[in-house]
């Protein structure tokens, strides 16, 4: 097999290149502040950062390759494992891409429930970000408070999907099933109290001078740098670029919801913190709107060759049973073509690039995940700052190694 002639050896650390007095410090993969198995090769001059080189791949599981051997529907559970903190966004993005290829129309109720769940999932993601970020800065308590609310969200997921983290609830063509009867009431109960909880975190952090001093003016990223590095989501908006795919390139019925897209022009870690806090409040509003205007109707598209029939039907109707059998054993074939579907997930712009060759298995699935691009901006944000700022910056860009390594 072909060797890679162009691959150079590992770059020499700057100390050996320049003869300066620089200490090379490995942060990670086994390090509490790197949110997983990120490895940062940091060159320090005293406590001042000279360079940061991210080394990734410790969590690489070859999901893109695995997808090529699965039926279209079987890919959905794989996507959960990529950004495990925002599972339903993964599901949604993949389903939307395949539905685009199939040209499927999704019933409105399914769309609304998808929006509702995706926003809950975003809240989940932001809660974990807030907790771990605060913990990196040293505020232990916020972490446990956010996990208290995250637990509620996970219970909601469990009630609807039977799974807490790897939900796989969305199907190509709708949802896997109608949510349980009192589920919407439970969501309502949660979402009514949630803004107070945000206030609670805010009380602990926003006015806290230590927290403010740790974040303000740290990890500055200009709008042009952010765009050059492909930074998306809250970090991009905190740098002053007003782009949110939910509003600007709506999908899954987001155009029917009213929400503000918070931006800031400061571009430091504090701006990212504030943007995300406001985003949590806005997500709460979206969930409220989804609950208020929840339409009735089916939760699955009327496409018997693609969507699994209801259990009841499958047991009573011959045709449904045959469809069920065929979908489960052979999958369904998808017209040849290539589509790219981008959505706005908790961390930024997620994109699924699905190439079909007309068979029942995807020819190529590629995922664009925000953290992968955002990670490239770390060095720009940290250079010349202290090592403690690196921790603040990593926390503020909210990376998930699952989506970087895939």
């Amino acid at each position: 097999m072909s060797e890679n002639p162009a691959a150079p050896a590992l770059e020499l650390p700057a100390a050996e290149r320049t003869g300066e007095n620089v200490m090379v410090l490995n942060m990670g993969p086994q390090h509490p502040a790197t949110h997983g198995v990120l490895r940062l090769v940091v060159e320090l001059d005293g406590e001042v950062i000279v360079s940061v080189r991210p080394e990734v791949g410790y969590l690489h599981t070859g999901i893109e390759k695995t997808c090529e051997a699965k039926f279209y529907q079987q890919v959905v559970p794989l996507t959960d494992r990529i950004n495990y903190l925002d599972p339903l966004s993964n599901n949604l993005c993949y389903c939307l891409a395949v539905e685009k290829l199939l040209g499927l129309e999704i019933p409105e109720r399914a769309q609304w429930i998808r929006v509702l769940l995706t926003e809950l999932s975003r809240l989940n993601s932001h809660l974990i970000w807030l907790g771990t970020h605060a913990m990196d800065i040293g505020a232990l308590t916020v972490f446990l408070y956010t996990f208290r609310e995250r637990e509620e969200i996970l219970r909601l997921f469990e009630a609807v999907a039977g799974q807490r983290m790897m939900t796989s609830y969305f199907r190509i063509g709708g949802l896997s099933m109608e949510p349980p009867l009192d589920w919407l009431d439970r969501v309502q109960a949660f979402i009514t109290t949630f803004p107070e909880k945000i206030d609670e975190y805010s009380n602990l952090l926003t006015g806290n001078p230590i927290f403010m001093n740790r974040l303000k003016g740290v990890g500055y990223l200009s709008a042009s740098d952010a765009i050059a590095f492909g930074v998306t989501g809250p970090p991009l908006r905190a740098s002053g670029v007003d782009i949110d795919l939910r509003r600007d390139m709506p999908y899954s019925g987001y155009e029917k919801f009213q929400f503000k897209v918070p931006t800031s022009t400061v571009g430091d870690t504090w701006a990212r913190y504030e943007v995300r806090l406001v985003e949590m409040r806005e997500s709460t509003k979206i969930v409220q709107q989804a609950l208020d205007g929840m339409p009735g109707g089916p939760v699955k598209a009327d496409a018997p060759k693609i969507v699994l029939p209801d259990r009841e039907k499958m047991k009573t109707e011959m045709e449904a049973l045959i469809h069920h059998f065929k979908i489960v054993t052979e999958g369904f074939s998808v017209p040849a073509g290539e589509v790219y579907q981008g959505i706005e997930c908790g961390h930024g712009q997620m994109g699924y690039y699905v190439v079909s060759d007309g068979t029942s298995k995807p020819y190529r699935v590629h995922m664009r995940y925000p953290s992968f691009a955002t990670l490239q901006a770390v060095e720009t944000m940290c250079k010349g700052r202290l090592i403690a700022d690196l921790v603040a910056v990593i926390g503020s860009i909210d990376i998930v190694l699952g989506e970087i390594d895939r």
Binding site: E47, G138, A139, L144, R214
Partner: protein, 347 residues
Amino acid sequence: MTILEFFLWSLLKVAVVTVVMLLGIAYTVLLERKLVGRIQNRWGPSRVGPFGLLQPLVDGAKSFLKEDLIPTAVYRPIYLLAPILSLGCALISIAVVPFGANMGPHGFDLFEISNINIGLLVILGVTSMGVYGIALAGWSSNNKYSLLGSLRSSAQLISYELALGLSLVGVVLRAGSLNLRVIVEQQATLGIATWNIFGGFQFLAFFIYLMAAFAETNRSPFDLPEAESELTGGYHTEYSSMKFAMFFMAEYGNMINVGCVATLLFLGGWTSPLGNLMPPLQSTLVNALLPIFWFVLKVFLFLCLYVWVRGTLPRFRYDQLMNFGWRFLLPLAIVNIVGTSLWLAYR
């Protein structure tokens, strides 16, 4: 009393106080875990014994049974010496702390190991020696995290030691003595009204002392040396089993020491909030034990303050920490000295 009797009595006192101190350390850990747990909506240790009361003992046993690693890259003699120095210094200060009125027969101090005229300075001296444990631990570990942690920590300790020492000058100015007993008794006249923190107008000094003490003990929000999100374990990254536990114990021991000193210097020591206004009781036993109760209560509340702060505040960045110490606390301490001396001159 012959010197031999004195020696034996002293040995007994030392033994009792050391055991109590070790237990105190163990239960301070438990207190912190329980209290932080309650702050954070958790239970804290609750399985071993009633309310988790046996947890510290089990933890101690576990520390002993853990594998005792000495990494190959370390500089052994100093690597082994460092935890001994750390824990040793944490256990010495208690020797000059009086925790009850002088009750012993023949003028023998039952409630203080050694009643000396320069008690306050002894505490400062012991604190200044505590730096070695941390500096040497990090240096001998031959690990970048340890070295960074230990340099940070030693620089932090020595910086805040200044503020700590200078904040005490106000109290000494008032008392005119370095003897801790004299300092306490001087506060006892009107109870809470003559405590140094209120009556002595040493609130500023208490504030400086509090900040410096938090930094001296490496506690949140000054817990940078062990900021796990940056430096993993800080200076004790390479330490395992009991050697690690000794650093841990040293930290909590220092918390207790600092609490004791704060109680003695600012909060009236073992005297009750009513001070001498409270009529003496008839029972000798109660008279002996009540001061201990007050003393322990005050130290306990001080420790709770520690835990509360830990559950609430994030941590400083290193440059902010140094700036705070040098540019804010130190000048403030000098201002306090000038103010107090001026006030005392014109009073």
